[in-house]
Every structure is written in C-alpha cells, then in structure tokens.
C-alpha cells in the first residue's frame, strides 16, 4: 500500500477528565478499506478515543490528517467539514426523536450538504433500502425496534458519503436477537470496502472483519496485530476474548 492510500491518521491523542488521564497518547493510521477493531476492558478508553476521532470530545492534544491534509480541529468551519467525512455510529443510536426515519436521514443532507428536498429524499430512500427499511421510512424512532433504530442511524451516517465510519459498540444496547440484523448490515459495509474503526465485544465481528485488532487498556494501545497473530494463546487480546467467549457462549 502506498502513502496515498492513507485516509485518516491521528497522532498522540491525549485526554484527561478532571485530572484523570483517559487517553495517554494514542496513534492510528487508517488506509482505505481497512477495518480496525478496538477491544479491551470497559474504561480502557475505547469510547473516548472514538469520540475524540471526530472531536465530539475535544482531545487535550493530538494531530489529525484526513487524506494526508492536516485538519485544524480548532477552526469550527474545518471541524464541521471534517465531521461530515467521518461518520459516527453510537451505542444508543442517537436518532432524532421528533423526526421520522426518512427525516432523520434527510436533515443533514438538506441543512449541511444543502441538497434540495427532492434529491435528499431520493438519497434517503436509497440508503434506507440498503439497510432493509424501505417500508419503515415514515415511522418515528419510538415506533422502531432497537435494531431498526441502529440501521436508520447507519443509513443516516452513510448518506453523508463519509470516508471513514466510526462505530462505538453498535450492537451492545440491543437485545441478543436483534444484534444479527445490525451485524449483517456492518458485514455488508465491509464487503463494499467501507473504511471503519469499531469498538465491539462481538467475537464474530472481531474474528472475521478485523484487519487489525487494537487492544486498549488504561488509555493506551497495549497490543495490536491481525486476528491471526493476536488471537493466539498467551496474548492479552486472546485472554480477553476467551473471557467474552465464556460469557456469550459464542464459538471463536
């Protein structure tokens, strides 16, 4: 792979809350089509790191490059433009409760991308169909199941044509019988070559999708490597995944 393939690069991200260091210098280089998966115990900094990646939490220090162009995260204009290109999927979906599935998708298209109503609607239908919700476009979030809500959230993020998608435990707020539909959507994205950084405890996703696993603990990446090299006896990652396994009963 050449340098031009690098989509997102961050260096030395640090963040403290009330004097407690949560991130102690995390780096990440993401190539086009690459999928990196963050694993590790709760409180290890995975979620904070993901939210720092699009500055929903502004890091105390750190440099950002998008397609090798430096991003000035302190310029509001540049930050808003950067966020359009780095989509985010949240654990709790974060849908807009007063808008239908359709309007959840079209809002940013119209207000941020300034598309006209017709074009935005057409785009929203395409994205909602991709996640299998073409018949639910007029329903409000309160009328959707958890899995459907998360799929609307994914459609909403994809409609912005992001170059990178950040996923913060996308299935962990769902009932076990609803995770499957969201996992299928994520697998489809991977198949189409979407570049992703995901925090997850889903062994099957870690095992089959990850190009690289980053094991985070106490605000640093303590191990990284492909599933092949990392998920072998004796590594922290394997030990952690074993524990997840025995909890979920899922085969690895």
């Amino acid at each position: 792979m050449t340098r031009q393939d690098t989509i997102l690069r961050v260096e030395n991200i640090t963040k403290s809350f009330n004097g407690n260091p949560i991130l102690r210098g995390v780096d990440l280089t993401l190539r086009k089509g690459e999928i990196k998966i963050l694993v590790g115990p709760s409180g290890g900094g995975k979620s904070t790191f993901l939210q720092c990646l699009n500055c929903l939490i502004s890091p105390d220090s750190g440099q950002f490059w998008l397609e090798e162009r430096p991003v000035d995260i302190f310029s509001k204009k540049e930050l808003y433009r950067y966020r359009q290109q780095v989509g985010m999927i949240f654990q709790d979906f974060n849908l807009f409760d007063h808008l239908t599935a359709m309007d959840n998708v079209t809002l940013a298209l119209r207000k941020v991308k300034k598309m006209d109503k017709k074009a935005a609607l057409a785009r929203a239908i395409v994205e909602l169909s991709q996640v299998g919700l073409e018949d639910k476009t007029r329903l409000y979030p309160a009328e959707l199941s958890g899995g459907q809500k998360q799929r609307v959230a994914i459609a909403r993020a994809l409609a912005m044509d992001p170059k990178v998608l950040l996923l913060d435990e996308p299935t962990s707020a769902l009932d076990p019988d609803l995770t499957g539909e969201v996992i299928d959507v994520i697998r489809n994205l991977a198949k189409k070559g979407m570049t992703m950084v995901m925090a997850t405890h889903q062994i099957s996703l870690i095992r089959t999708l990850a190009d690289e696993i980053l094991f985070m603990e106490a605000g640093v990446v303590v191990e990284k490597g492909s599933p092949k090299t990392l998920l072998v006896p004796g590594t922290r990652s394997q030990g952690f995944c074993d524990k997840l396994n025995s909890l979920s009963g899922e085969g690895i």
Binding site: K76, Y80, R83, F93, H98, P141, A142, A157
Partner: protein, 219 residues
C-alpha cells in the same frame, strides 16, 4: 332583562374586548420572550446567560403590581410616558416572559445530550443542532407548562385595571360600585373569565394534538 343587567352586560362585553386586546399580544409576546430568553439561559454565552438569568430573577421575584406601578406611575419621572394600555401590555409581556423562560429552560435541559452529539457528528453547527434538533423537541415538552402560564396571564390581566385600563374587571368594578351589587357583578365577571380560560384550554389542547409525535407524552 332588567336595566341593571342590560347595563352590566354592555359594560362587561366592552371590558371583554379590552381584556382580549390585552391578553392576545401579551401571551404571544410573553411566549416569544420566554423562548428567546429560555434558549439564551441554556445555550447563550456567559454574558447573555447572566443577563437573562437576572431578568428572570427580577421579574419572577417582584410582584406584578409593583412592576405595573413602576411602568405606569414611575416611568414618567424619568420622562417615559406610557399609555395605560402600553404599560399593562409591557408589564404582562415582561412578567409572562420570565415565567415562560423557566418552562422553556426546563424542557431544553430535558432533551438528552446524545441527540446533540448525533447532530454534531453529522457536521451540523452548534446553532443548527440546537435550532433543528433540540428546540423542536423542547417546545413540545414545554407546551403544557407554557399553556399553564397563558392561563395565569388571562386572570392576572385583571391587574390592568389598577393602571386604569378599563377591561373586564375595571368595567365591572365601576358598575358594582355604582349599583352596590357586588355579588352579582363579580359572579358574572368570574363566569366571563371562566369562559375565556375554557376557550384557551380548548385551543391549547388542539395545539398539543396538532404537534403530537409518537414517543412524546402519551400515545
């Protein structure tokens, strides 16, 4: 009908029109003031936040009668002359706005932060996130409280009479004194207010229904 009741209804109907002329602009102005100051108290920069907090504290913390006296009897000392009607409406808007801002503030704070994050993650600016996501939801939640304030306003509009606006209470009081028939006159005035409030409740219910969305309140 006896001449007394003929005269009573003529006077009260005249007063009713004046009352409505006081209530409608005061309710609209108070609501608008409340929405703007409520938003600034939550999302404004520290300076504007403090100014609006001080405004709310002042107008919620002093009696409306005192506010009206200052506007009508006090301001002329400073060279500002307000007509009785203008003084009453100004006082009502300022007082109502202070209370409305509190309902709006509470509703804004009740909207979970994660929707704001969702909007930010899509590249919406702070203003866009607040304007398109937070406010539409907060207004739905604030509506019952704001309606309550409007119902209060209908009744405290009777205070306009002490700055010599001849509205419902003022007209009635004059007639009652003249005929010395306080019970009948004030009972009928009470019914007039009851009718006004009932009408307001009906309109507010219709509004709540019109902006209803699944997941907000009942249903």
């Amino acid at each position: 009908m006896s001449p007394f009741f003929q005269e009573l209804f003529d006077a009260l109907n005249r007063g009713l029109i004046m009352s409505i002329a006081l209530i409608v602009p005061s309710a609209a102005g108070g609501l608008l003031t409340g929405i703007i100051t409520g938003c600034l108290r939550v999302f404004g920069d520290p300076f504007l936040r403090n100014v609006c907090n001080a405004y709310a504290a002042l107008f919620r913390g002093t009696p409306l009668v005192v506010q009206l006296f200052i506007l009508y009897f006090g301001f002329p000392n400073m060279g500002i002359y307000l007509t009785p009607y203008a003084a009453a409406v100004t006082g009502f808007i300022l007082c109502s706005g202070a209370y409305q801002s509190e309902y709006v503030r509470g509703a804004l704070l009740s909207i979970k932060r994660n929707q704001y994050l969702g909007a930010q993650a899509l590249g919406l600016s702070k203003f866009q996130s607040v304007f398109w996501i937070i406010i539409p939801q907060a207004m739905r939640k604030a509506l019952p409280g704001c309606g309550n304030e409007i119902i209060y306003l209908i009744k405290y509009s009777s205070l306009a009479y002490i700055v010599t606006v001849m509205e419902l209470t003022g007209e009635g009081k004059t007639l009652a004194t003249e005929y010395f028939r306080f019970t009948e006159v004030f009972a009928v005035i009470g019914l007039y207010y009851l009718a006004l409030v009932s009408l307001a409740i009906l309109i507010l219910k219709k509004m709540e229904k019109a902006v209803h969305i699944p997941g907000f309140g009942k249903g």
